[in-house]
C-alpha cells in the first residue's frame, strides 16, 4: 500500500466520521455558530451583547424544545412511520388541566404536576392505542388527535387563559439560579434546566440505553416483522413509546404554564405549534425518520444548536425581522440535515 492511498483512506475516514457520527458534526456546528456570533458581537453588528450570560439565559428556550424533541424521538424510533403531530395540542390541553388543578381548585403543586403528567400520558395512550392496537398510520392518528385536543383545550375554558395568583407565582420556576460551589464562576442557569430538562434527559437516556425496553424499541423500529418473529411484544412496546411521549408533553405543559405565568389554551398550537420544531430537533439530532436509529445526546446537541442560533439571530435583526429569519434558519437547517441523512444513508448505509 502506497503512502498516498493511506493518506486518502485517513481523509475519507474523517469525512465519514463527520457524516455518519451526528454528534461530532453537531458539536462542530455549535462551535461555528457560537464563534460566528462572538465575532459579530466583537465587530459591533449585534443589537445587544452575545456573551455567556446571554447564552445561558437563552437556555430557558431549550427546556420545552429538548423535552419535546426527546418525546418525538421515542415515537419516531418505534418505526412504521412513527411521528406525533399532537404533542403541541397535548401541551395546550394538559396545560389547561394544570391550570384548573393548581390555579382554580387549589391542589398542592406536586399533585397538580403528577396529574398533568398523567393526563399527558393518557392523551399519549389514545395515540398509542390507535397506532399500535388498531393500526392507524401514526400521521393520521396524531393529526386527528391534534385537532381534537386543540379544540377541547380552546373550548374547555371559553378560550380564556387561566392566570390566577398561584399560577402567576410559578413564574419564579423559570428564573435563573446560581449553581452551588462553582456558581460564582459561571453565568446563572435557568432553574427549569435542573427541575425538568435534566431529569427528563437522564430518564430517557436510562430508558433507551440501560433497559430491555429500550433495546426492544430500537429492535421494533429497525424491523418490526423481524421483531415479531423474535417474539418481542411489538404492539405493547410501540404503545408505550406514545404514552411516554404524552407524559413528557404533560411535563412540558407545566414548564410552559410557568414560563407564560398563565395556562394558555393555545400555548402549544399557536403559530407553527410545538410539534414542528420538536420533529426538526429530532431529525437534526440524527434520529432516522424510518425508525430504529437515534441517540439522546444527538437531540440535546441539536437543541443547543437551534437555541443558540435563534438567540443570535434575534440580536442580529431589529424588530420582528429576527423571528422571520429564525423560520428561515430552522427550515434551512432541517432541509440540510435531511439531505445529509439521505446522503449518508446512500454512501455509508445508515447514520448513527
Amino acid at each position: 500500500m502506497t503512502a498516498a492511498t493511506v493518506e486518502k483512506r485517513e481523509k475519507t475516514d474523517i469525512t465519514r466520521l463527520f457524516l455518519t457520527q451526528r454528534i461530532p458534526l453537531l458539536a462542530v456546528l455549535i462551535v461555528i455558530v457560537v464563534v460566528t456570533f462572538f465575532i459579530n458581537d466583537a465587530g459591533g453588528y449585534l443589537t445587544a451583547p452575545y456573551d455567556f450570560d446571554y447564552m445561558s439565559a437563552s437556555l430557558i428556550n431549550a427546556v420545552p424544545l429538548a423535552m419535546l424533541g426527546l418525546a418525538e424521538m421515542l415515537v419516531i424510533l418505534s418505526g412504521r412511520g412513527g411521528i406525533d403531530l399532537s404533542v403541541g395540542a397535548i401541551v395546550s390541553l394538559a396545560g389547561m388541566v394544570f391550570g384548573f388543578a393548581y390555579g382554580e381548585w387549589g391542589w398542592p403543586l406536586w399533585m397538580a404536576i403528577i396529574a398533568t403528567a398523567g393526563f399527558g400520558a393518557l392523551c399519549g395512550a389514545i395515540n398509542g392505542f390507535l397506532v399500535s392496537y388498531i393500526g392507524f398510520p401514526a400521521l393520521i392518528a396524531t393529526l386527528a388527535t391534534f385537532y381534537a385536543f386543540k379544540s377541547i383545550a380552546i373550548v374547555i375554558n371559553n378560550q380564556q387563559p387561566i392566570s390566577t395568583a398561584p399560577i402567576q407565582d410559578l413564574f419564579s420556576l423559570s428564573k435563573s439560579v446560581e449553581l452551588p460551589i462553582i456558581g460564582q464562576y459561571i453565568p446563572d442557569v435557568p432553574l427549569g434546566i435542573f427541575t425538568f430538562l435534566l431529569p427528563t434527559v437522564v430518564a430517557v437516556w436510562l430508558l433507551l440505553a440501560r433497559t430491555a425496553y429500550g433495546r426492544r424499541l430500537y429492535g421494533i423500529g429497525t424491523n418490526d416483522v423481524a421483531a415479531r418473529w423474535a417474539g418481542l411484544p411489538v404492539r405493547d412496546t410501540r404503545f408505550k413509546a406514545y404514552v411516554y411521549a404524552g407524559l413528557i408533553s404533560g411535563l412540558v405543559a407545566v414548564v410552559t404554564v410557568a414560563q407564560f405565568a398563565s395556562a394558555r389554551p393555545d400555548a402549544g398550537v399557536s403559530g407553527n405549534g410545538m410539534a414542528l420544531p420538536a420533529i426538526t430537533i429530532a431529525v437534526l439530532g440524527g434520529v432516522a425518520i424510518t425508525g430504529g436509529i437515534g441517540r439522546v445526546a444527538g437531540v440535546v446537541l441539536a437543541t443547543l444548536l437551534i437555541v443558540w442560533l435563534n438567540a443570535g439571530i434575534l440580536l442580529a435583526f431589529v424588530g420582528n425581522e429576527g423571528s422571520q429569519y429564525q423560520l428561515l434558519a430552522l427550515g434551512a437547517v432541517l432541509v440540510f440535515a435531511a439531505l445529509l441523512n439521505g446522503l449518508t444513508n446512500r454512501k455509508y448505509g445508515g447514520a448513527q
Binding site: G81, I83, L85, L130, I134, G135, F136, P137, L139, I140, A141, L143, A144, T145, F146, Y147, A148, K150, S151, I152, I154, V155, N158, Q159, G271, N272, L276, I279, T280, V283, I289, T290, N320, Q324, Y325, L327, L328, L330, G331, A332, V333, L334, V335, A338, L339, N341, G342, R346
Partner: protein, 330 residues
C-alpha cells in the same frame, strides 16, 4: 363474442366509485338534512354558496395532495405556499393594473416554482417528503412574510372577482371557484384512472422499486406530483384572494396544510400510498366545510368543529382499516 372479450379482459381498473365515496355522500346528505331541519337558514343560497366557495381552495389543493399521497409522499408546506402565492398575486394586483388572466398566470407560476423546489429536493435528494416539506414550509413562510413586509396588503382590486363571492362570481347560482374545482377534479380523476401516466402514480405508491423495474421513471413522476400540487396551490390562492375583502393579512394559509390532509384522508386516500381518489378528496373537503359551517350555524363555538374533524378522520380511516382487514381475511 363481445361478452367473451369482456370477460377475458384483465380487470385493471377498480370500480369507478369506491365504498368510501358512497359513504361520504351519505354522511353529507344526512348532515345537510339534519342542518336543514335544525336551522332553516341552512338550505338557502346565502348559506350554501359561501360553503361551496370555502370548500373550493381546500378541495383544489387536496387534489394535488391526493396525487402526492398516492405516490407515498406528503406535502405539509402547502400552507406556506398558499401564503407566498397569494401575497405575490395580491401585491401585483395592487401595484399594477393586470387582467384576470395575467393574475392567474402569476399565481400559477409562483405555485409551480415552489412545487418544483419541493419536487426536486424530494425526488432527487431521496429524503422522506415529510421532512423536506416541514423544512420548506418554514422557508416558504419566511419568504411570504418578507414579501408582505410589515402588516397587511390593502386595497386589492376586484380583478379576481370572477372566482369570488359576489354576483359576478357565479353562474346559475353556483360559484365559479367551485365549478372550476369540479372540472379540475374530474380531469385529474380521468387522468389518474385512464392514462398510463396517471396509473404510474399508483404504481409508485404501491411499490416504488417494482415500479422502477417495470420502467416507470419514478423520480420524474414524483417531481411532477409536487409540481401539480404547486400549480393547484397557485390557483387556489386566486380563490383565497377573491374570497376575502380587499385586504390580505399574514395569517393567510396558516394551518391549511392540516385541513387539506384531513380532507384527503377523510376522502379515503391511504396515507401509505398506492390507493386513493380525487373524487373522495372533493367530498372530504365538502364534509369538513359542512361541519364547520354547521357548527357556526348551530351557534356553537367555532373551535368545536376541529373536534368533529378529528373524530371524522378517526371514523373514516378506522372504517377503511376495518374494510382492509375484512379484505385480507376473505
Amino acid at each position: 363474442m363481445t361478452l367473451v372479450t369482456e370477460r377475458t379482459k384483465p380487470r385493471v381498473l377498480t370500480n369507478p366509485i369506491t365504498g368510501q365515496e358512497i359513504v361520504l355522500v351519505g354522511v353529507i346528505a344526512v348532515l345537510w338534512a339534519a342542518l336543514a331541519v335544525s336551522t332553516p337558514a341552512f338550505l338557502t343560497a346565502g348559506s350554501i354558496q359561501p360553503l361551496l366557495v370555502a370548500t373550493a381552495p381546500i378541495a383544489l389543493v387536496g387534489v394535488g395532495m391526493t396525487i402526492v399521497i398516492i405516490t407515498g409522499g406528503i406535502d405539509v408546506s402547502v400552507g406556506g405556499a398558499i401564503m407566498v402565492c397569494s401575497v405575490i398575486t395580491a401585491k401585483t394586483l395592487v401595484s399594477s393594473d393586470v387582467s384576470l388572466g395575467v393574475a392567474v398566470l402569476i399565481s400559477l407560476l409562483s405555485g409551480g416554482v415552489l412545487g418544483l423546489i419541493n419536487g426536486v429536493l424530494i425526488a432527487y435528494g431521496r429524503v422522506h417528503a415529510i421532512i423536506i416539506t416541514f423544512g420548506t414550509a418554514n422557508i416558504f413562510m419566511f419568504l411570504g412574510l418578507q414579501i408582505f413586509g410589515s402588516g397587511t396588503v390593502n386595497g386589492i382590486p376586484a380583478t379576481l372577482g370572477f372566482f369570488g363571492r359576489g354576483e359576478d362570481g357565479r353562474t346559475l347560482g353556483v360559484p365559479h371557484a367551485f365549478l372550476v374545482t369540479i372540472l379540475i377534479t374530474a380531469a385529474c380523476w380521468w387522468y389518474l384512472r385512464h392514462t398510463a401516466g396517471g396509473r404510474h402514480f399508483y404504481a409508485i405508491g404501491g411499490d416504488a422499486q417494482a415500479a422502477r423495474l417495470a420502467g416507470v421513471r419514478v423520480q420524474r413522476r414524483v417531481l411532477l406530483a409536487y409540481v401539480i400540487t404547486g400549480l393547484l396551490v397557485g390557483l387556489a390562492s386566486c380563490f383565497v384572494i377573491a374570497q376575502g375583502t380587499s385586504t390580505l393579512d399574514q395569517s393567510v394559509g396558516s394551518g391549511k396544510e392540516l385541513a387539506v390532509i384531513a380532507a384527503v384522508v377523510i376522502g379515503g386516500t391511504s396515507i401509505m400510498g398506492g390507493r386513493g381518489s380525487v373524487l373522495g378528496t372533493l367530498l372530504g373537503a365538502l364534509l369538513v366545510q359542512t361541519v364547520s359551517s354547521g357548527v357556526t350555524q348551530l351557534g356553537w363555538r367555532s373551535q368545536l368543529s376541529d373536534l368533529f374533524v378529528g373524530i371524522f378522520i378517526i371514523v373514516a380511516v378506522g372504517a377503511d382499516l376495518l374494510r382492509a382487514r375484512a379484505r385480507r381475511s376473505r
